[in-house]
Amino acid sequence: MNITDFTRKIEEEFEDLQKNSLSSEDVLRDKFTWDSINALIFLAHVNVEYDVEITADELIKSVTVQDLYNLVYSKVQIKG
């Protein structure tokens, strides 16, 4: 997995995001409504796409797209 691919897939997942509109430094909650429903949509997305589980605390601590990528990437690595 790489961050470009990860970012493009997030854009596909959320209707409010335009294609190629996100960069790794972007703070997600500034780009669109980052509410509880969208958080669940994100959890479902990474579960199906990368087979990893993210907790509410981890999600709250992740501010930028890069943070989210690092979080998911570290979990994918642990799973081997």
């Binding site: 509880s36 429903i37 669940l40 949509i41 959890l43 479902a44 579960n47 907790t55 999600l59």
Partner: protein, 354 residues
């Protein structure tokens, strides 16, 4: 590990009953129109039925059972077992099953008791009624499942109010030497007891003059008191995405079956996002995974039989089919069963005029 078979048990009929009042989530003005649209699309619930105050789950189950007994032409004196699975009982004491035994004019030789489970309740109920009938050589039994969930849900709780609908169901079970075994896999994780909880009103937090009915602001869009149901959305979500797939995979493996051997997968109707994620994890064809969520919402232990009644009645009336049923949630409790449904009695959904 609770993986086991129950032989000689046949489902003879399934029926379901809902209250007449329909609530449309498009009218849920506690949240903005934009948020409402996203919510409805994500949880997949457009309408659901709300019981009037005073109507109980047993009222709905009674109508479902009474009508099914008549349709089957069963003699009421032959029904020797009645199990009521619900978390919305008529009274704190006594058990509701006795009231139903009397109301349905069943005999005094009838065994009747309650089981307190929600989302997993239909699967657990089938395992208990099947096991008792198979070992006790009881010829005819009824499994009644359902909940009134809307009464204890706060309108000002956007995480719970739009989800739940009320329903009661009845499943007629008979002993049959020709029946193929039902295959179960049941599991529990009580460490997540507070992921779905009504904290007050039981013995731990007894209702008395010091109880507070005051609504507290829990988070944005969520006001409730301790007698309302509280959902920890992310906890329940992660639990279901973690546990349901391995539960099903293990069950199939144990009995040397594959996904292709199953005609229909009927899941507890939790919410669209969760159920679709599980469907994708298992790589199931959407045509094999029916939903009643859109019209009836999450109906707790009624959701699996209700979905069979509303989405598959033609199929179950006319064919012999292999089903995998799976329930998961409150407890935390979850389980799956593989069983045959062979040309059963399955009347159209009934409406309770309360």
């Amino acid at each position: 590990m609770a993986i086991f078979q129950v032989p000689n048990i046949n489902i003879a009929g399934i029926s379901a009953c809902v209250p007449e009042d329909e609530y449309n989530n498009n009218n849920y003005d506690w949240i903005s129109e934009k948020e409402r649209e996203t919510l409805i699309k994500t949880i997949g619930v457009e309408t659901k039925r709300h019981a009037k105050k005073g109507t109980t789950t047993s009222d709905l189950c009674f109508v479902a059972a009474d009508s099914l007994i008549n349709k089957l032409g069963w003699n009421r004196s032959e029904i020797d077992l009645l199990i009521f699975v619900s978390q919305s009982r008529d009274y704190i004491i006594p058990a509701t099953s006795g009231l139903l035994q009397e109301k349905l004019s069943l005999s005094k030789s009838c065994v009747a008791f309650d089981i307190s489970l929600g989302c997993s309740g239909y699967i657990y109920g089938l395992s208990v009624i099947g096991s008792m009938m198979a070992t006790g050589r009881i010829n005819k039994g009824f499994l009644l499942t359902g909940d009134i969930s809307t009464l204890n849900t706060s309108f000002k709780d956007k995480s719970a109010f739009p989800l739940f609908g009320d329903a009661g169901t009845a499943t007629a079970i008979e002993l049959s030497n020709n029946a193929e075994p039902m295959m179960f896999h049941l599991q529990t994780d009580g460490s997540g007891y507070d992921a779905i909880i009504i904290p007050d009103g039981g013995i731990r937090n007894f209702a008395d003059k010091d109880s507070s009915f005051e609504y507290k602001n829990i988070s944005e869009g969520i006001f409730r008191n301790n007698f309302n149901i509280a959902l920890d959305g992310i906890k329940v979500f992660n639990f279901s995405l973690r546990e349901v797939k391995p539960n099903i995979t293990k069950l199939l493996q144990e009995f040397e079956l594959t996904i292709d051997d199953i005609d229909y997968f009927v899941f507890h109707q939790a919410n669209k996002l969760m159920n679709e994620t599980i469907r994708k994890q298992l790589k199931l064809d959407p045509a094999k995974v029916p939903y009643s969520l859109k019209e009836f919402g999450n109906t707790s232990s009624a959701s699996i039989p209700l979905t069979i009644v509303t989405e598959l009645s033609k199929e179950v009336k006319n064919s012999k089919l292999t089903f995998l049923l799976s329930g998961f949630g409150v407890g935390l409790s979850w389980g799956s069963v593989i069983l045959q449904i062979d040309k059963i009695v399955c009347p159209s959904i009934l409406t309770y005029k309360d």
